[in-house]
């Protein structure tokens, strides 16, 4: 188990680094897809089967494809890729490192979590997540459909071509 975890962890971190470092946006997307797949692996390790599946479908299947699609649509590649100056890049890495350091410092004494008494092995399966979703979280679930609708309308509105060329 632990070996698997380390394997997935290494893949995710490496791929994440590639996402940031790759010059070609298409490579970034591919790396992110691999990274997400490894995160799905983590979900399975955690017995969160439902999430693992949804994650693959939504993120890898839909969102990342959308990214890829837009990149191709806009014809982005290595040549058009804008680059930051070296100083900014160093500053960015230092900032990220500092955040990591601070966060790690927060858990340097470990985290004391009481283990659950009545452990339910069904947690993370479709049945338990569905129960929770349609009992406690029914209203947010329904409301989220409104969010989707507005996002859809917004995307359509934004993507529509201006009739008046002057406005562009």
């Amino acid at each position: 188990m632990l070996t698997l975890f380390y394997l997935f962890a290494a893949i995710s971190v490496l791929c994440a680094l590639v996402v940031v470092a790759a010059r070609d946006p298409v490579n970034s997307v591919i790396a992110l897809i691999v990274c997400f797949l490894s995160i799905a692996g983590h979900y399975i390790l955690l017995n969160a089967q439902f999430l693992a599946v949804v994650h693959i479908i939504v993120y890898t299947g839909a969102i990342m494809v959308l990214f890829l699609f837009v990149i191709m649509l806009l014809n982005l590649n290595k040549a058009t890729e804008p680059q930051r100056s070296l100083a900014t890049r160093v500053a960015a890495v230092v900032a990220g490192g500092l955040v990591l350091l601070t966060l790690l410092a927060a858990v340097r004494h470990g985290i004391s979590v009481e283990p659950a008494r009545d452990f339910d092995i069904g947690t993370g399966l479709v049945r338990s997540v569905g129960r929770s979703l349609f009992n406690e979280f029914l209203l947010p679930f329904e409301v989220s459909s409104v969010l989707f609708l507005s996002a859809m309308v917004g995307a359509v509105m934004l993507g529509r071509r201006e009739k008046n060329p002057q406005a562009a």
Partner: protein, 630 residues
């Protein structure tokens, strides 16, 4: 009873709905339709009041319809609640009943005014506020109504706002009312401090725990009385009421004769449990009322404006009511409120009909002989005049006699002064009657009788003025004072009244005052009925009369005493504080903010990367500080 809980809120709700609807649709609604709607809604409120009255059981005590909690802070809990008891029912019936008639009358009176809809919206709003005032179950709700009627009074006095003098009159009424309101608010605060609540029932229950003459009660009652002075136009704050005649005549009838100005009396009767325990305040009330009654009556004798005469008469009659309250005769005071509402509304509407007939003329020196031209108005006006003079068996006789009897029991000299006031009242009212309707016509316009929509309310009010006395028929005439017993269930002060004069003495008191009144009518007839020449101007009168005609120089006195010093203070403070201190301070504060803004706006570069960096820096700082336990 369930229906009271439902009906009670409906009574003020109907006029409010009318005000809102008419105000919202005033551009689309014709003035006539607005008038009909307003009248119908007030009529509906009257019907509800009647139903409430019929379903009311006096022995059951007050019924409170609690709508919702309006203010709830710590242990202060003030609800928007309506109280239905004998007192509020009496006032509700007066307000909605007389109000309906006056609304109806206004349809005719205002028919060619371009802002008719606005007028009816305001009239409805006034009725709503007045109902709030009389129906409130605590001082706070009464206060909302109190301020509401003040506002509507202001708006309606200045209804014809293009005339600067009318605007001035409206402002004067508003400011003078504010002076009284300060007293009311302070009284309210004191009530809350002493009793811990503003609910009438609780306050009146707890009042019993105080000894007679307790300083707290004296202070509360004095402050409440200051409020009543402002609203009910007593000395020294009565000068606004005659000026308030600038408003349309139905307004004068409704607000400045029948309802709003009696709010002060209502407040005192409502708080009668406190007043009976404060003898000092009662004396103040008594003497204020007495002086006002006489002072206004003397001024009324020399007025030449038909509405001004009635206005001073109103002030004088209000003085009588306060005398009654000061004597502890609360039911007699409220009885006079009721009959006064009938005959004074009648007189004002009659005056309005005369003014209408003459195309806007208000000076009685240019009237005369209208008896034949306006027969309905003449007959009803005559009834009103006889009622206010107190001729048996009209309503004014009974209500005034009740006050006079109580006055005699308290002290014969007060009785004598009140009779003198009654004689003056008779004199100027009959002077008015004779100058307007008798003799020969001295004006230019062609008088014509008003339409039926205006005369019908006159006749209804005339009938009420005649039979109104039956509401509280004294034992002497075979009655058993039903109104007094009814009111005793609501205002505990009423229960403490007792009149123990022998029947013979009462008969002779009545006979004495009636004889004097009849004598006065005869004198007035001799002097004015056949008058052809005009009365001289005020300046041409000999000295004591000139002073009275000049309202005892009260306006001038106030101007010297308050207006001038205030103006002087304002001018100087403006030069000193405003220019030298406040101006530089304000400019300095504004300038500093502007300069800081000038510096800070450079931070907003518009560059998203910079923002991102700043955000991460902030996040870092936040995390760092949190983790270090700060």
């Amino acid at each position: 009873m369930v229906s009271a809980q439902l009906l009670a809120p409906l009574v003020p709700a109907l006029p409010l709905a009318g005000a809102v609807i008419i105000a919202a649709l005033r551009r689309r609604l014709s003035g006539h339709a607005a008038g009909l709607l307003a009248t119908a809604l007030i009529g509906g409120a009257f019907l509800c009041s009647v139903l409430l009255f019929l379903g009311f059981d006096p022995a059951g005590g007050a019924q409170v319809a609690h709508l919702f909690d309006w203010i709830r802070v710590a242990d202060m809990r003030i609800g928007l609640a309506f109280q239905v008891d004998a007192l509020s029912l009496t006032m509700m019936l007066i307000v909605t009943g007389v109000g309906t008639l006056i609304h109806l009358y206004s349809i005719g009176y205002m028919h060619d005014d371009p802002r008719q809809s606005t007028f009816f919206a305001l009239l409805n709003l006034f009725t709503f506020a007045m109902l709030l005032l009389v129906m409130g179950a605590n001082y706070a709700v009464t206060f909302i109504g109190w301020e509401g009627v003040g506002l509507c009074s202001y708006l309606l006095i200045g209804f014809w706002y293009t005339n600067p003098a009318y605007n001035y009159a409206a402002r004067k009424a508003f400011v003078m009312n504010r002076i009284g309101d300060v007293g009311f608010v302070l009284g309210l605060a004191l009530v809350f401090q002493v009793f811990g609540t503003l609910d009438y029932t609780t306050v009146m229950e707890r009042a019993d725990t105080f000894a007679t003459g307790a300083p707290a009660l004296t202070a509360i009652t004095l402050l409440l009385f200051v409020g009543a002075i402002g609203k009910s136009a007593q000395l020294p704050l009565f000068t606004w009421l005659p000026d308030a005649m600038a408003g349309p005549t139905p307004v004068s009838a409704l607000i400045h004769a029948a309802t709003m100005v009696t709010a002060g009396i209502f407040l005192l009767v409502r708080s009668s449990a406190l007043f009976v325990l404060a003898p000092l305040t009662q004396d103040v009330v008594l003497y204020t009322g007495l002086v006002t009654a006489l002072c206004a009556a003397t001024i009324g004798v020399f007025q030449n404006d038909i509405k001004k005469v009635l206005a001073y008469s109103t002030v004088s009659q209000l003085g009588y009511m306060f005398v009654a309250l000061g004597l502890g005769a609360f039911s007699a005071g409220l009885f006079h409120v009721t009959t006064h509402a009938f005959f004074k509304a009648l007189l004002f509407l009659g005056a309005g009909s005369v003014i209408h007939a003459l195309g806007g003329e208000q000076d009685i020196r240019r009237m005369g002989g209208l008896r034949s031209a306006t027969p309905s108005t003449y007959r009803t006006f005559l009834v009103g005049t006889l009622a206010i003079a107190g001729i048996f068996p009209l309503s004014g006789f009974f209500s005034k006699d009740a006050i006079l009897a109580h006055a005699y029991q308290y002290g014969p000299w007060i009785y004598a002064l009140l009779v003198a006031g009654a004689v003056l009242t008779t004199y100027y009212m009959f002077r008015l009657l004779f100058l307007v309707f008798f003799g020969s016509y001295r004006g230019q316009a062609h008088p014509h009788e008003s339409p039926a929509v205006m005369t019908a309310p006159l006749w209804v009010l005339a009938v009420l003025s005649v039979v109104g006395g039956a509401l509280n028929l004294p034992h002497l005439f075979g009655g058993h004072e039903p109104m007094k017993h009814f009111l005793a269930t609501a205002a505990s002060g009423v229960g403490l009244e007792h009149l123990h004069l022998s029947a013979l003495l009462e008969w002779s008191l009545m006979g004495f005052s009636t004889a004097l009144v009849l004598l006065t009518i005869w004198i007035a007839y001799g002097r004015f009925a056949k008058q052809a020449t005009l009365d001289p101007e005020a300046d041409a009168l000999p000295v004591p009369q000139r002073w009275a005609a000049r309202k005892w120089y009260l306006d001038e006195l106030y101007e010297r005493l308050f207006e001038k010093p205030y103006g002087w203070l304002s001018t100087n403070l403006s030069a000193l504080l405003e220019q030298r201190v406040m101006q530089p301070l304000m400019v300095g504060v504004g300038g500093t903010a502007e300069r800081i803004g000038e510096l800070l706006r450079r931070v907003q570069t518009g560059n998203l990367s910079t923002y991102l960096f700043a955000m991460v820096a902030g996040l870092l700082l936040f995390l760092f500080l949190t983790l270090n336990g700060l």
